[in-house]
């Protein structure tokens, strides 16, 4: 699991830094950051990631649009995607799942929740 190549997408520099620190604490070292969906798609064109953590509310391209775009490509049908957001309304979660999100974390999150959801997401896909 520690060998994952992770793409962390969030428009907030604070959140990106906290997520990266939390991931490093959990033993993950190969992490790339992106500032929004558009930036993430650009980074996915030049690099192969095997796990994505994304926020929902972002300018340019939000998390939902980003996930829908990713899922359009057959190459990324099985790419594990974890959404980390403040949104916890039922309709939002269903919308995210329909867009292709595999798992969902509510902000503010704990490091244990992040670790647990990463393992859960990988297990649910394999």
């Amino acid at each position: 699991m520690v060998d994952l190549k992770i793409l962390a997408v969030d428009d907030s520099p604070t959140m990106r830094r906290i997520i990266i620190n939390t991931l490093k604490r959990a033993g993950f070292t190969d992490i790339t950051e992106a500032t929004d969906g558009k930036d993430a798609l650009a980074k996915m064109k030049v690099d192969n990631f095997n796990f994505v953590i994304t926020d929902w509310n972002m300018p340019e391209m939000n998390g939902l649009e980003f996930v829908s775009n990713v899922r359009k490509s057959s190459e990324y049908k099985k790419l594990p995607i974890l959404m980390v957001t403040t949104r916890s309304v039922k309709d939002d979660i269903i919308e995210a799942m329909k867009a292709g999100v595999n798992n969902y974390i509510v902000k503010p999150f704990t490091p244990d929740t992040l670790k647990e959801k990463i393992s859960q997401t990988i297990e649910s896909i394999s």
């Binding site: 520099p13 604070t14 503010p108």
Partner: protein, 204 residues
């Protein structure tokens, strides 16, 4: 007095009253224009102030993060050094040195708790993203007020420059209007249940 003259006089009287009434309305509009103009100038000021607060809070949060990272690294190095030292010392080293052992164990404990506390501070700093979203939501509401004030000014016949119009429209804000900084464990449990049932539903 003939009937025609009486009607004409009445019409004159009513026209005079109508004119006075229109004058009073025009005066009322003129009186209103000033506070509307004032508000139209103040709303962008308030929005800019919120943006400044957001930026400063973010910068301060990053300074705290710099220090927290420094503490976690230092504490981590100290934990590693103490481990290495313990390994390097003979197994019987602390046998007749209880005072040294106590100090050593205390240092291990302090290094470990300092690291844990620093990590806890880092986790708490997620508040900055959440309050930034709350402020973006407020700024968005102010943008809407500004747009409405522009429309009212338009009703008064004043032209709003394309530049002013564009400034309001072009502000892209990404936020969750319901973002709250609170213990999310309960929400997370509910989300987990929803995901489970959504997964089952999507599989059917």
């Amino acid at each position: 007095m003939s009937e025609t003259v009486m009607v004409s006089s009445k019409i004159h009287e009513e026209i005079r009253e109508l004119t006075q009434s229109v004058d009073r309305m025009a005066e009322a509009f003129r009186t209103l224009q000033s506070p509307i103009e004032e508000s139209r100038k103040q709303v962008p000021e308030a929005t800019m102030q919120l943006e400044r607060i957001n930026k400063q809070t973010e910068e301060a949060t990053h300074r705290v993060l710099d220090m927290v990272e420094q503490i976690t690294n230092d504490a981590g190095n100290m934990i590693q050094d103490l481990k290495a030292l313990r390994k390097a010392l003979p197994a019987t080293y602390f046998k007749n040195r209880s005072k040294v052992r106590d100090v050593f164990e205390h240092m291990e404990k302090v290094a470990s708790s300092s690291q844990e506390n620093a990590f806890a501070i880092m986790d708490t700093l997620q508040f900055q993203d959440i309050t930034a979203q709350q402020m973006d939501h407020t700024a968005h509401l102010l943008d809407e007020v500004e747009t409405k004030l522009h429309s009212i000014k338009g009703l008064f016949g004043e032209e709003i420059s394309d530049e002013q119009e564009e400034m309001v429209i072009s502000k892209k804000r990404a936020f969750d209007p319901n973002a709250r900084y609170q213990d999310s464990s309960e929400s997370q449990l509910q989300v987990d249940k929803l995901i489970e049932s959504a997964r089952n539903g999507l599989q059917k």
